[in-house]
């Protein structure tokens, strides 16, 4: 037998449920999953603050600072962002531990911008099975846009393969008879870029590519590889490298007085942190492709978006190095997630976050090149897909041609 009190409670709750069912539309305005409330939105993030990839830790620090600014300005729809960022030392097992801590212990709403292909690969399956969004991962590996198998994972920057295809397109048009020599980093980044280039060259890849050399990040100097590529008789040279090696390569080619048509991957095309240390005089005529503005390139000094970026740095992160590509990257990425949260409004469920992240229309963060826009849909999990070719002249990049879309058939 139920006591009188319990009966009353049962009746009351039934009534409440019935009421809620009829007026559902009115109440549904505020919906929360774990990690969101009237006052707070919790975001999780994983970065290599220590270990071999610690150079990228800056991205996490800038994002944290950006959210601090947003919070000072009143937050998003009245809610403050709590940004919990953990260190994985670029080790996949540690990334799994940290991702689980974020989801199960800190109870974040979703993971934003975890860095690195190995780490993201390691946590992808777990997050998808838990239905926790893993959005705007900080890597250009093509596999993070596979909406059919991993509907809770999406990228942000252009896929490395897209970049490779854009170079292929340019090359086929401008120099179809080229003899191509390639230096690439022996990891997911280098191999993806190489694959994009080969796919783009299609049947001609085999006949055009005369030398392919890979290097390890632990190698102190890449001279030997360059000597070998030069000996192959190549007249087009691809440097699919990260900043330190990009600078070494530019300098070495100058020392060898070898002047092929020079393509430099976007990752290593920063004016302040690559070309300047390598010497502007050695960098003339180098080709690359970009989607974001360069923080140390004077042509953007009067650009509206970049003025905001510089003002942000001056006020909130005076120690940050604007020449560091990672600083620009973190700012743009944080701005994109803020847009997603704004769009989500009061419906802060994981499902709606994913829905909003996949319905960005012509969104342009301050740091993207004019004409480059973020567009996503339920079947397009690659936010930034456009790049523009550029050539280095004097002390800055000269953009030329239209923004090219390097869409991958996926």
């Amino acid at each position: 037998m139920l006591s009188k009190q319990k009966m009353l409670a049962a009746v009351l709750s039934t009534a409440v449920i019935a009421f809620a069912a009829t007026t559902g539309s009115a109440l549904a305005q505020k919906k929360y999953d774990t990690g969101a409330s009237d006052t707070e939105i919790k975001l999780g993030n994983i970065m290599p603050y220590s270990g071999p990839a610690s150079a990228y830790g800056v991205i996490g620090k800038i994002e944290e600072t950006y959210f601090k600014m947003i919070n000072e300005q009143g937050g998003i729809n009245g809610r403050k962002i709590t940004f919990i960022s953990y260190d994985d030392g670029y080790s996949p097992p540690k990334a799994v531990e940290q991702a689980r801590k974020l989801v199960e212990s800190d109870e974040v709403l979703f993971l934003f911008g975890p860095l690195g292909t190995p780490s993201n690969s390691a946590i992808q399956k777990y997050l998808n099975s838990k239905k926790v969004p893993q959005i705007f991962v900080a890597t250009g590996a093509t596999k993070f846009g596979d909406y059919k198998n991993f509907p809770w994972t999406m990228g942000w920057q252009p896929a490395y393969q897209s970049e490779g295809r854009i170079y292929a397109k340019y090359l086929l048009k401008e120099k179809p008879g080229a003899k191509v020599g390639i230096l690439y980093q022996n990891d997911d980044f280098g191999k993806d870029l190489l694959k994009g280039l080969k796919d783009g060259l299609g049947d001609k890849a085999a006949s055009m590519i005369v030398a392919e050399e890979s290097y390890e990040v632990t190698e102190p100097s890449i001279d030997s590889h360059i000597v070998k590529i030069k000996a192959s008789g190549a007249d087009v040279y691809f440097s699919m490298t990260t900043p330190k090696f990009s600078a070494q390569s530019i300098k070495k080619l100058a020392e060898l007085e070898w002047k092929p048509l020079y393509f430099q991957s976007n990752v290593g095309a920063s004016v302040g942190s690559v070309l300047q240390p390598a010497g502007f005089e050695n960098s003339q005529g180098i080709l690359s492709a970009a989607y974001a503005k360069d923080g140390a390139d004077s042509q953007w000094d009067n650009d509206e978006g970049m003025k905001k970026f510089y003002a942000f740095l001056a006020k909130y992160a005076p120690d940050a190095n604007k020449a560091d590509g990672s600083v620009v990257f973190g700012y743009g990425q944080a701005q994109t997630v803020v847009q997603v949260l704004k769009q989500a409004g009061d419906n802060l469920t994981r499902e709606n976050i994913m829905k909003q992240a996949t319905s960005l229309k012509d969104f342009t963060p301050d740091t993207l090149l004019p004409g480059v826009k973020i567009n996503t849909s339920a079947t397009d999990f690659y936010p930034i897909e456009q790049l523009q070719m550029m050539r280095f002249k004097g002390k800055k990049w000269d953009l030329f041609g239209d923004t090219i879309s390097g869409e991958l058939s996926n």
């Binding site: 620090k61 996949p92 531990e97 399956k125 191999k191």
Partner: protein, 338 residues
């Protein structure tokens, strides 16, 4: 002998630990076991996962302890054996569809053979030279795993995703909890095996070699055989740990098995106490939790904070957890008698 040769009375690189002091008493062991069995019932899945990793790294540290603490050979290449074990399990599970539990003995065997073979050239080396040789192995391993030739099986730079097993017989247990108890069972079996190994004739041979190689060979011990055997056993156990690690993390990639892992395992051994098997779990706890504490204190300086904490530990207890245990035992003894 020529005049330029230097004659040195070399102190052994690893101090002698009497074999009785290498283990815990029955009472303490049982209490420890009880804690390990009960804790998962009261904590979140995420903590259970951490505890699983704790056991797995403890196994790897234990393996290194058998090699260094037992036979006096130094290794910075344990990450290589760990990687081979992990990839063996992952490849068997994903490509050959073999049950996860069956992949572990294979991983162990493959690593045993690998370690035994590696022990052959290592025989001629000692001290820093052996350190360099094992170090070379550790730096070479990620590059081997990336190699285009093996990409079909290893997944190259992208790695391999592994499926996590469910609890068998419809046991009402989460995947994490099941894997924890499974790992615990494997760990206990290996621990008992290791303790008995060190107590056996072979164990005594290991220790005789550690304490004085020349004297050991004079006593009729086949130094070459036992040294390579120590390498084999150590590699085999590390391989099983690697296999378990692959299943727990559900992913293998070259970046997970760099020299950093080998260094972590080495630190675990030092902090736990070289040659003291129960210390392995303390060392394992150190390498899992102290980096988390360090980043909690300062993100930008997490490396520095970790370094400072490590210095503190080795200043206070240069002999690791073993020293703490000895002191504790001493006080307990006094308490009982007084």
């Amino acid at each position: 002998m020529s005049a330029i040769q230097e004659v040195v009375t070399e102190a052994p690189a690893v101090e002698a630990v009497p074999k009785r002091a290498m283990t815990l008493g029955y009472g303490t062991s049982l209490a420890m076991l009880l804690v390990l069995i009960l804790v998962p019932l009261f904590v979140k899945n995420f903590v259970i996962f951490q505890l699983t990793m704790l056991l797995i790294y403890a196994l790897a540290v234990l393996a290194l302890n058998i090699l260094t603490g037992g036979s006096g050979q130094f290794s910075l290449g344990q990450s290589a054996f760990y990687a081979v074990g992990a990839y063996t399990s992952a490849i068997l599970m994903e490509h050959a569809d073999i049950n996860y539990a069956l992949t572990l003995p294979v991983a162990g065997l493959v690593c045993f053979i690998f370690g035994f073979l590696f022990g052959q050239p290592a025989l001629r080396l000692s001290g820093v030279y052996l350190a360099l040789a094992t170090f070379a192995l550790a730096t070479a391993m990620p590059q081997l795993l990336k190699l285009g030739v093996f990409e079909k099986w290893t997944g190259g730079v992208q790695g391999l995703v592994v499926t996590k097993p469910d609890a068998p017989f419809g046991l009402p247990m989460s995947q994490d909890m099941w894997l924890y108890y499974f790992t615990l069972a494997v760990s206990i079996a290996i621990y008992i095996f290791s303790v008995n190994l060190l107590k056996s004739r072979s164990g005594r041979a290991f220790m005789a070699i550690r304490d004085n190689e020349i004297a050991a060979s004079a006593m009729g011990i086949d130094v070459a055989l036992y040294k390579t055997l120590a390498f084999g056993v150590s590699a085999g156990i590390t391989g099983v740990a690697g296999g378990l690690g692959a299943i727990a993390v559900q992913f293998v990639a070259p970046d997970g098995y760099t020299i950093t892992l080998a260094i972590s395992l080495f630190l675990g051994m030092v902090v736990g106490g070289v040659g003291w098997l129960p210390g392995s779990i303390v060392g394992s706890a150190f390498i899992i939790f102290v980096p988390n504490i360090a980043e909690g204190i300062s993100k930008g300086l997490s490396g520095a904070v970790f370094g400072v904490l490590l210095f503190l530990v080795i200043f206070l207890v240069p002999h690791g957890a073993r020293q703490v245990a000895v002191v504790a035992q001493h006080w307990l003894g006094k308490l009982k008698n007084g």
